[in-house]
């Protein structure tokens, strides 16, 4: 096993190619641009296609078309670009196409955008939120697999730090279970047999008159219920005897986890939960600790978004406090003064002391 020191954007692109992705369309926008740059460079060398589209609107449309033919295809952007793609996301989801979206977000303020669907209609995307490049390499491959398993879009929620910093990582293909053939794809194989296919987002099936939206939407909801049970993922540490639990997501969690490990070493009974899937949200992990902790602190760098999911998970069984807040650099990329282990430490220590009445060194 060899390790290479690579930038997050490059690692994500290589992992996508390892996962069999051969089509990518995007439009440059910081901090996502480098993903597109590496795609443009590496995809043709792998026999794939990368298009620098007219806009995000065109990029998602191209990915939609490529997916419909059965290709593993992806697009990506940052929050603003994803806003533009929402109409297509909504329709692609109802057309049950396995789109992978690489979101290099400008910080953590797009949690709602990602986890609440974002466009019209009753739908969700699976959101994988890596803590570092190592996990992103795993997630991007998992994303293509889950997208095909569930025939539902999967998004990687990364950020500026993930895209623009480098780590030593192993870039190896992950072996997943064999998937069934894409018997829905518009691959031209059935010409003349009368079995040609029709991909649409209104639940229309060939040969039937009318579209029966209610039946179609209920079937999709049943799929989301199954995804909630099967795919919720989280990471946890020190929960056994914790009387205070802090939760954080994405690269911010790496800073928080570091501080919690330090506080644990110094004797604080503090624990840590990190949702790996932002949707489905790992609610059970929070339910399990709600009865035994004094408070759950949510450290997120936004006005308070994931905190809603934590509250919905514990339903009043434990107090939930916002510990983070809005914090950004002058360009608005979400790398602000709160992303600092000394600052986080003072915030967590104060919260711990307030909620448990314990000094950190007791």
């Amino acid at each position: 096993m060899t390790r290479r020191f690579v930038e997050g954007s490059e690692a994500i692109v290589e992992a996508a190619i390892l996962a069999g992705c051969r089509f990518f369309a995007g439009y440059p926008m910081t901090p996502f641009t480098e993903v597109l740059d590496h795609m443009a460079e590496k995809m043709p060398l792998a026999g794939g296609i990368c298009v620098n589209a007219e806009s995000e609107l065109e990029a998602v449309g191209m990915a939609w078309g490529a997916l419909a033919t059965g290709a593993r295809a992806a697009t990506g952007s940052t929050g603003q670009g994803l806003s533009l793609m929402q109409e297509s996301f909504s329709e692609i989801t109802r057309a049950e196409l396995p789109l992978v979206v690489v979101n290099m977000a400008r910080g953590q303020s797009d949690y709602y955008q990602s986890t609440r669907g974002g466009g019209h209609g009753d739908y969700f995307h699976i959101i994988l939120c890596p803590i570092d490049i190592h996990e992103a390499v795993e997630h991007i491959q998992l994303a293509f697999h889950l997208a095909d398993v569930w025939r539902n879009p999967v998004q990687i929620y990364g950020d500026y730090l993930l895209a623009h910093t480098a780590e030593a990582v192993e870039l190896e293909a992950i072996a997943f279970d064999t998937l069934p053939a894409k018997d829905w794809a518009l691959d031209g194989s059935l010409n003349g047999t009368g079995g040609s296919r029709n991909i649409n987002s209104i639940g229309m099936t060939k040969g039937n008159k009318g579209i029966e939206p209610e039946r179609f939407w209920k079937r999709l909801q049943a799929k989301y219920e199954a995804i909630k049970i099967a795919e919720a993922r989280h990471e946890a540490e020190f929960l056994e005897d914790a009387n205070y639990v802090v939760t954080a997501f994405g690269t911010t969690a790496k800073f928080v986890r570091h501080v919690i490990r330090e506080m644990r070493n110094e004797g604080s009974r503090i624990g840590y939960i990190r949702p790996i899937t932002l949707w489905p949200f790992p609610s059970q992990a929070f339910c399990d600790v709600a009865g035994s902790v004094r408070e759950i602190g949510v450290f997120e760098l936004n006005g308070g978004q994931m905190i809603d999911d934590v509250r919905l998970a514990v339903l009043g069984a434990a107090p939930v406090a916002a510990l983070g807040g809005i914090s950004s650099d002058e360009s608005g990329f979400g790398v602000g003064p709160l992303l600092n282990t000394d600052v986080i430490r003072s915030i967590l220590e104060a919260a711990y002391e307030r909620a448990t009445g314990e000094e950190k060194d007791q």
Binding site: M29, T33, N52, E54, S55, Q80, E330, G332
Partner: protein
């Protein structure tokens, strides 16, 4: 966003215009664009033109989208109104503002990424509608803000900084504006201020949609050998059709030209566009000839600049859709709520 204010100092020798403002009063914050950026020259030309036209800064609204070009309104007309919209949507925001308040002078600043890619649809429909404005595209053929991808105005065969040739055909914004019905169409070059300043003055005096495609080299990502939007390339291939003097109704006509070499156009506001012809008998009033001229010279690799077309009697969108003459914000309660008698009359007219 980096924002550097300038000290409020005026050099004592600066001459005030008829409103008592000096050129300094039309400036903005210090530019944060790359040193040598063509866009800064366009900002300087806009400042010069507004100063010379004696435009009251508070009556100008400058709207933009996203990109290096769309950042520039921070760097000129600091005393004017500004609206930074989203990528490619300046045309619709400006159309709405213009319809709601016709009393302002509208300046839309955009780039080739903003107007020729994501904003192409809105660009096209604004031109069709005849919104009364100056629409200026600061055209560098490249996405500068995201570090050097080809834009939709990059010529086929033009090379990127890394040496890769563009394989897509270019969109000619001036040719599109002509086809779509703009009533004032010009092309200029950020490196030629003597050509650009009068064109801006004429465009600001025009009633209807005035469009200027201004080639503006990107010194960081598109000023190398093999690029067709570099300073050197544009200087070598610049084919100016005319040279323009703008004579405002107040100004004295002093320059004399020999008969036949000059075409004069009087605009709606009384300003006279005096065009010194440089390309034979090029007629700025002939839209179809202008389209043919552009296409023929583009095929030869030449960049045609100057005033390409003007309709001095153009109408604008307000006339087309018969809007009320009062800005909507100034309509009083009586006008907004004329009572049930007026409502009955209106309903009766629709029966």
């Amino acid at each position: 966003m980096t924002y550097l204010t300038k000290p409020k100092l005026h050099h004592p020798s600066l001459q005030p215009n008829q409103l008592g403002f000096t050129r300094r009063d039309y400036e903005g914050a210090i530019s944060t664009l790359c040193a040598g950026c063509g866009h800064d020259s366009i900002s300087a030309a806009l400042i010069q033109a507004c100063y010379q036209l004696d435009l009251p800064p508070h009556r100008i609204a400058k709207l933009s989208g996203i990109g290096c070009s769309s950042k520039t309104p921070t760097y000129f007309l600091g005393a004017s109104h500004g609206f930074n919209s989203v990528h490619g949507r300046m045309p619709s925001v400006l159309t709405g503002a213009n319809l709601a308040n016709r009393d302002l002078i509208y300046l839309g600043v955009s780039g080739d990424g903003d107007s020729a890619s994501i904003g192409l649809g809105q660009f096209a429909h604004l031109m069709r509608r005849g919104v009364n404005m100056l629409y200026i595209v600061e055209n560098n053929g490249v996405y500068g803000l995201t570090k050097g991808q080809f834009s939709a105005t990059s010529d086929c065969g033009s090379k990127s900084k890394k040496g890769v040739a563009n394989t897509d055909e270019a969109i000619d914004m001036a040719a599109m504006a002509l086809q779509l019905g703009a009533t004032f169409v010009a092309r200029s070059f950020s490196g030629d201020k003597t050509q650009l300043v009068p064109l801006i003055e004429a465009a600001l005096s025009h009633r209807g949609t005035a469009f200027i495609d201004c080639i503006s080299p990107c010194v960081a990502f598109n000023n190398h050998m093999g690029s067709t939007k570099s300073f050197d390339y544009v200087r070598e291939h610049n084919e100016a059709v005319n040279f323009l003097d703008v004579i405002t109704p107040r100004a004295e006509i002093t320059t004399e030209y020999s008969e036949g070499a000059v075409q004069e156009v009087t605009q709606h506001d009384g300003s006279i566009l005096r065009l010194r012809k440089l390309a034979g008998d090029y007629d700025v009033n002939d839209r179809i000839a202008a389209m043919r001229f552009l296409a023929e010279h583009a095929a030869e690799g030449e960049i045609v600049t100057g005033l390409l077309y003007v309709d001095p009697d153009a109408e604008d969108m307000h006339l087309h859709i018969k809007t009320v003459p009062t800005p909507l914000k100034d309509l009083n309660e009586t006008a907004l709520c004329p009572g049930s008698a007026a409502l009955h009359k209106l309903n009766a007219s629709l029966r």
